[in-house]
Amino acid sequence: MTVTTHTPPRRLGSLLNRSVLLAAFFVIELAIFGFSVPNYLSVDGVLDTSRVFIEAGLLSLGMTLVIITGGIDLSVAALLALVSVVIGFSHQAGVPLPLAMMLGVIVGTGCGLLNGAIVAYLHLHPLVVTLATMALFRGAAYVISNAEAFSSYPEWFTNIGGYYIAGTVPAQLPVFVLICVVVWVILAKTAFGRAIYGLGENEMAVQFSGVNVERVKLKVYGLMGLLVSIAAIIETSRISTSRANMAVGLELPVIAAVVLGGTKITGGYGTVTGTIFGLLILWYLQDGLQFAGISADWGLVITGAFLILGVLVNENLGKVRD
């Protein structure tokens, strides 16, 4: 009987291969669209698509960490709407916009910490907890906004999500890249990151090694909340509206991207690089198909198909290892 050990270098090694494969798939995907769909491949166009997936991308980064710990967060999309509504409607009530934005971030991070606290200290399963908070946050958004929309945002605010640097690069892209690097460093290079992997593999072992498991979980879900808040600001700025029914169902492609990128839903495995490529593959696929005239209705079909595909490949990967 062989005993499998999961040492970081080996894990990173196998996933580096997967990232290479994903990167190759992405390049092939772009090439296919570029050759068969006129007008598709242009620097402007490819960069412009990033405006659409950056919000999901921020959520995917946080979701990667959450899933690696063996948890899940279904409330992210609802929280995004809630943060957006908090910003819009507190501003409508007279709060100066910069302050309203800070209020939104506090609410977003606070709700993330709430998820973390319930999961960590009450020892309830994250699936059930975040399913409940999904309803809670979405409901709160409807109550605060009274099902109405707020759209009177000044130009400096809409520039966050609408401005193009040098006419081509969306303003939120460098911000996203920076956050990707930060999250990558956290996960790959810090003790906190190692604890995250540890929690997913063997929580008891991590606990016995002296790490405060509850604190780690609290921080992971709290970080998720912070990322959701940033995504909320960007999306609200991009469409210059706050509505309670924004981002409905967004948690699905987010999870699909994370799983496609190699993160195992059972925890312990995953990388930021993989998630980013999963994100790119998924969103550019939908983008290219819609550009070619295949209607937007297929978006959900594609998300579901790739989620199943991602899980399948993950499982086969596991079988090979043993």
Binding site: F25, S36, S151, R243, L289, Q290, F291
Partner: protein, 340 residues
Amino acid sequence: MTDTLKEMSTSRREVLVGLAVGAAALAGGVRLANAADRPVIGMIPKYTSDPYFTAVRKGAEEACKELNCDLLFDGPANQDVTAQADIVDRMIRQKVSAISIAASDPSALAPAAKRAAARGIKVSSWDSDLDPSARPVFLNMSEFSAIGQTIADLMAKATDGGKGDFLLVTNSFTSTNMNNWRENIKSYAKTKYPEMIVKAELSGDADIEKSKNVTLNYLRANPNTRGVIVIDGNAAVGVAEAVDQLGLAGKVPIAGIGVPSTIRPYIKSGTVSAAVLWDPVDLGYGAIYISKAQLDGKLDPKTGFVDAGRLGKMKFIADDVVLLGPPTVFTKENIDKYDF
């Protein structure tokens, strides 16, 4: 890279090959855009999951065939403001010549519409307007006042003068057309039927199930409701089902907007006394003619009208608003004539 491929398990390799083949097949089956001399008009409905917008598409296709243009019809499956804005941005990249849109939210879609206009794309709206600063022309199906008055009149007729508390069900509190109709119904009722009180306004979010549930809950809690006014096609079906379920058909009349294909059984059974609409096929048809007029540089409010093929001349009722025509009332007698 080849080492990686060799190390791979058979199943993993199979999956990858399958992916590559699938992607290639998809790419092979993809439509290639036509040559640049045929203008492409991008039409964006509020959402595609409603036979109303399918009818609009039919009219648009008819007009495009007559005008030698290509139609690119795309919209989110359900009410989704962000997705609509994304579709506008994508159409800009697809280099369409004109965009004709029914906006789910007038201000949320405005920045995207302005971006399109900045790239030389002709923008126009229909059914549900954009912020006026974001488009030079809006095709109104019927004057808001005409629809509002017709609905109020129908409700009054069905309830012997319209005295009492009424429930109003809409599909959103942000759509321009919904808000205008609500205000018109109420202000007209105030002058003509002072005892017609709109006691509550609820939204069914353009979902039949939700419309049915909000109506069920309201009618159970407010049994004295005299009638239900509906201003959305999907809501009308939900409300009719709710009234039928409670056994109140005929006792609590329903009047308002209705799409013949979905409201037909309820009109025939009497649950819905009368429904108002305009022909969405004509709407799609007219919207394309407006886009073509913009492309040809022939759109001029000073002439007073827009040439619209088989619809004749559509009048400008304001410098930036064109009227499609008078509303159509569907009753038991005439509903079988319409098939959308």
